[in-house]
Amino acid sequence: MNRRRMLALLGLLPVAAVALPVLKSLSERGRPRRVRPAAGFHDEYFPNVVLRTHENRKVRLYDDLLRGKNVLIQFFRTDRRDGRSVAATENLLKLQKLLGDRCGRDAFLYSFSLAPERDTPARLRAHHQEHRVGPGWTFLTGSPRNLELCRLRFGFAPPARRPGRDRAEHSNIVLLGNEPHQRWMASAALTRPEVLLDQLNRVAGLKA
């Protein structure tokens, strides 16, 4: 956007201040919003929405997936045409191997679907099996609204979707988190697995 256009838009602001709220109020109803928790990033921040695992188990985001855990969060596509998601899955498989039996015990890997309309639990299960994913790494789907809310809370989505920005916007990022300590950092999904393990250990507090 050039400066002139921005300034022209700015000129419209007083008008917008009056007119837009009226126009927007209907379309925005029900749109998920960011929240700022007063007591840290725990249950007040993470919505306890219901999700479905690749095993078609019903789980709640906060109670079952996050509370008290060290986690790796990723948003992914099961669509094989998307080479990047496949590369990320293969990379995280190597991380899972490095974690060994710690995976599912003191670190949990979660892949949230970017296409929940299409990704049924059965479809996720097929994808899970196809890649020979071991225990401790859960694929997740659910209602599009709930998945959108998860995406928003983890920071993978802008507050309002802009035209031209698709859901994969931050899909190459993984979040590494230690929920009880509120220690979170971002890394790249394609980071060398040994480095990801090191970062996960640092977030978990197992390594200085």
């Binding site: 925005e28 960011r34 802008p158 994969a168 990022i173 480095v195 507090g205 200085a208």
Partner: protein
């Protein structure tokens, strides 16, 4: 009362959503200055940027210009005995020093020729504004900014950092209490550099040895890689913990370090013929710029899930929100340093007074230049001289952040001219010229390398690969020079990169030769999206691993970094 505020916030949020959907990015909004220091201008327009930047509430209101600007006191060196265990070449693990490589060029330090400083990194109650409750910070010697260290070229400083922060297990909330104290802009050996991958655990201490020598100091005087170099002037130390440096700096883990030499002597009365006599003492003022967000209780708030960068709606200078400063009718040297986390400033003065810029990112310009506006990205420093000798008694004017020349502005600092304040007769001077810059000689280079910074689906890459602390992307030989081309193919947030060990000289920007000012030595390189910049880099004196990285919360901590190693 709450009703209209809520309605205003709601209007603001909706309008912001509309603007976002009109494809105005957040960067555009900040550029347009839709965010004032107090937050009120945008609120009036119904455009609270915080509403759009993912929070639903802005920081509590604070009254501007009621807090006096604190000036970080100059730290007095301590006696070597006060440090505890004597400094040693190898890390003194038995006495509680954290692991590090041996100090390079170690000879037992002459206590009479070395300044020893002890910095305790500890939990500190910070008061950003009298109308807010105290905030929990992690600060050096319990103050923010940390103590101002005055160092002198050629005289080493041994800085012992003692980490008294809570343990990893004890601490809850943003920040990571394992630290790596980096001297930003220093010519420092790897073991003292604050390498982001080498962290100091709570309970331990570490010695950082700063030679305060010009790059090339170990070369024979006849060597072509010696000479022509300058002493960096305005530096700062801050935490560099990998993945958490922005969070830790946001906790207050940053301080001020000024380096003087035979030209910039720090004495405006200096009769030595080499002395420039820039304003000194009380008239040489560090201004550390840092933007923050506060929650409804008035505690510092860091959004751990804002992958697009944390931008504060409270602008602080030297640890106070919108302070005032009483100034005398004379010349001042202001050393501006933006410590982030993400905001860039376009600085100017409300009374249209020219600022005479003398240094940028540690390096003096060949000659002073009068400017009306200065861009200051995260990590950047700029030194300006303000001549207030013709400002009327009682005049009040402001240091502003004005992104567009005719647009609205954020007010950072109020300056009140007090004609009764002592001027010391203002013996300070501003030379017409500081030095003749030696031409950059690309023929010095023995290798050329290209580093392309990209961002795909949110993740940074360097030459197509994510950050790997063990991968050395370059292994320059000590004492040599190389041409590095930095290319920014990301469309996003990257604005500048910073390399440790030594500054650079810009050869060309997007294929065009740059002006003398820009080719002066500096340690932060402006690199806008789409740009390609060739620089000459030298690798003198010290061996070991060093990083090159982005400087704000969205870049350096999210993997916009690569390591390189100087080898023999």
């Amino acid at each position: 009362m709450a009703g209209w505020k809520q309605r205003l916030a709601e209007t603001a949020r909706r309008n912001r959503v509309e603007l976002v959907e009109a494809k105005l990015s957040r960067r555009d909004l900040f550029k347009l200055g839709l965010l004032t220091g107090s937050g009120f201008l945008v609120a009036k327009l119904g455009l609270s940027s915080r509403a759009g930047s993912k929070a639903t509430v802005a920081s509590p209101a604070t009254t501007p210009w009621v807090e006096e600007l604190p000036i970080p006191p100059v730290a007095h060196p301590c006696d070597v005995a006060q440090l505890g265990a004597a400094p040693s070449m190898d890390a003194n693990l038995m006495a509680g020093e954290g692991a590090r490589a041996a100090h390079q060029y170690w000879t037992p330090l002459d206590p009479a020729g070395t300044d020893f400083h002890l910095l305790e990194n500890r939990v500190t109650r910070l008061r950003w504004h009298r109308e807010l409750p105290t905030d929990d910070g992690w600060c050096f010697n319990g103050m923010f900014p940390g103590p101002r260290i005055h160092a002198r070229a050629g005289r080493p400083v041994l800085l012992r950092v003692r980490n008294l922060l809570p343990t990893l297990d004890e601490h809850r909330g943003y920040g990571r209490p394992t630290t790596a104290t980096h001297l930003h802009g220093g010519h420092t050996a790897c073991e003292s550099d604050g390498n982001p991958c080498e962290l100091l655990e709570p309970g331990l201490w570490k010695d950082h040895l700063y030679w305060n020598a010009r790059a090339g100091f170990t070369q024979p005087p006849s060597s072509p890689s010696r000479g022509g170099d300058r002493t960096p002037c305005t530096l700062g130390y801050h935490d560099h913990c990998l993945g958490f440096s922005a969070q830790n700096v946001y906790r207050g883990n940053a301080g001020v370090y000024h380096l003087f030499d035979e030209f910039d002597t720090g004495d405006e009365n200096d009769l030595s013929p080499s002395a420039w006599r820039l304003p000194s003492g009380a008239f040489d003022v560090p201004l550390v710029l840092h933007d923050r967000v506060f929650d409804a209780q008035g505690k510092g708030y860091f959004d751990l899930f804002d992958l697009d960068g944390v931008v504060g709606d409270k602008l602080t200078v030297n640890g106070r929100i919108q302070p005032f400063m009483r100034v005398a009718r004379r010349k001042y040297r202001f050393r501006l340093h933006n410590i982030g986390p993400s905001r860039s400033y376009d600085l100017c003065l409300s009374n249209d007074l020219a600022m005479v810029q003398v240094a940028q990112d540690g390096g003096f310009l060949p000659e002073p230049r009068a400017v009306k506006q200065l861009r200051l990205a995260v990590g950047q420093r700029t030194d300006v001289i303000l001549d207030l000798s013709r400002v009327a008694h009682g005049a009040e004017f402001f240091l502003l952040d004005r992104p567009e020349p005719s647009g609205p502005a954020n007010q950072l600092l109020q300056l009140r001219l007090d004609g009764a304040l002592e001027t010391n007769g203002d013996p300070s001077r501003v030379p017409d010229r500081f030095f003749d810059e030696t031409p950059v000689d690309p023929a010095l280079a023995v290798a050329t390398r290209t580093f392309e910074f990209g961002r795909m689906d949110g993740a940074w890459s360097i030459n197509g690969k994510p950050f790997d602390p063990n991968a050395m992307l370059a292994t320059p030989v000590r004492g040599t020079a190389e041409i590095w081309t930095f290319v920014n193919t990301s469309s996003g947030w990257l604005r500048a990169v910073h390399s440790h060990l030594e500054g650079h000289r810009v050869l060309s920007r997007n294929g065009k030769v740059v002006a003398a000012d820009e080719s002066a030595r500096a340690d932060v390189l402006g690199l806008a999206p789409g740009e390609s910049v060739r620089v000459l880099r030298q690798f003198r004196d010290f061996l070991g691993p060093y990083p090159t990285h982005g400087l704000d919360a969205v870049t350096g901590d999210q993997g916009l970094m690569f390591m390189w190693r100087v080898v023999t």
